[in-house]
């Protein structure tokens, strides 16, 4: 799993590098674009994701100790928090951006200064958050399988590898968001 995560670092790393490069090209437009994002939703989702990482860590702990009921509860909590994140992302934030006219290609009505490069910022925003949300959805799928397996009593303190490894994946997706949140929402400055 660690080797897979290393490849994932390269995957997101390439995207981050492209983002940093274009941010340097069109610095004012990217700052303006960043300010158009809703920082409250971003901060809320960061907190939700950090909570889900805590519950995932506690789920691994419950598996190590062989506490089946705690394991199922924490896995369910993680799944719910993950689903909350994705629901807020798609249902609230993307919907809001679309209605405000910040969706390149679909609905773009923003025509402020240097709007073409603001549009480019939003392309990056939708792609980066979209790819991250896709990872979240995969994680939710994995959690569903784990919960079913846990209910059937497939795990014991000697056999919980699947939970440990899925936990690593879940924490990794959390780390990607830990970097996405400042890069997209914060470094435009809010003063």
């Amino acid at each position: 799993m660690w080797v897979f995560l290393a490849t994932e670092v390269m995957f997101f790393g390439g995207l981050f590098t492209a983002y940093v490069l274009y941010r340097n090209f069109y610095f004012p437009a990217f700052e303006a674009g960043s300010r158009l994002l809703d920082i409250k939703i971003g901060a809320f989702n960061t907190a939700v994701l950090l909570c889900s990482s805590l519950t995932m860590a506690l789920a691994v702990r419950a598996a190590q100790l062989g506490k089946k009921r705690f394991l199922i509860t924490f896995l369910l909590l993680t799944l719910l928090l993950g689903a909350t994140f994705v629901a807020v992302k798609f249902g609230l934030e993307w919907r809001h951006d679309y209605l405000e006219g910040f969706a390149p290609g679909a609905n773009w009505t923003f025509h402020g200064p240097d709007w073409r490069h603001v549009e480019l910022f939003f392309c990056f925003y939708f792609f980066l958050t979209g790819v991250h949300a896709l990872h979240m959805l995969i994680g939710i799928g994995i959690l569903t399988v784990l919960i079913v397996m846990a209910v059937r009593g497939r795990f014991s303190p000697e056999r919980y590898n699947a939970i440990e490894v899925s936990g690593l994946y879940w924490h990794f997706v959390d780390i990607v968001w830990i970097f996405l949140y400042p890069l997209l929402y914060l470094i435009g400055g809010r003063y």
């Binding site: 340097n24 907190a47 990482s53 805590l54 702990r61 400042p182």
Partner: protein, 109 residues
């Protein structure tokens, strides 16, 4: 399988630190520090990522091989960013002839 079992208290402590750092990075974004805003945001993100890998992902208690995989990933990522940016910052762009500029402006519109 016998992994290291971390106390519940430590997990909650790490979680509290992560939330505090999130609040801090959000707060810093409202203060004008010039270039240091970006530095602060990235430094805090790095600190948060380290907490998650070391404690939630148990890297603190993992074997050297696991750590090496992670370090290797980040070294390669650093190479990618450094070389790309080094190229970008040292490249002299050929200026666009003035006669083309009008054409480009037209196609852009």
């Amino acid at each position: 399988m016998s992994g290291h079992i971390v106390s519940k208290k430590l997990y909650i402590l790490i979680f509290a630190a992560l939330i505090a750092l999130t609040a801090l990075t959000t707060g810093v974004a409202y203060v004008d520090l010039g270039k240091w805003n970006t530095v602060a945001a990235l430094a805090i993100a790095l600190a948060k990522a380290s907490l998650v890998t070391l404690f939630f992902m148990h890297l603190r208690w993992s074997s050297g091989l696991m750590r090496m995989v992670l370090v290797a990933a980040f070294v390669w990522f650093a190479i990618l960013v450094t070389l790309t940016l080094a190229d970008e910052f040292t490249r002299q762009w050929t200026p666009v002839p003035s006669s083309w500029e009008a054409q480009i402006q037209q196609t852009v519109r």
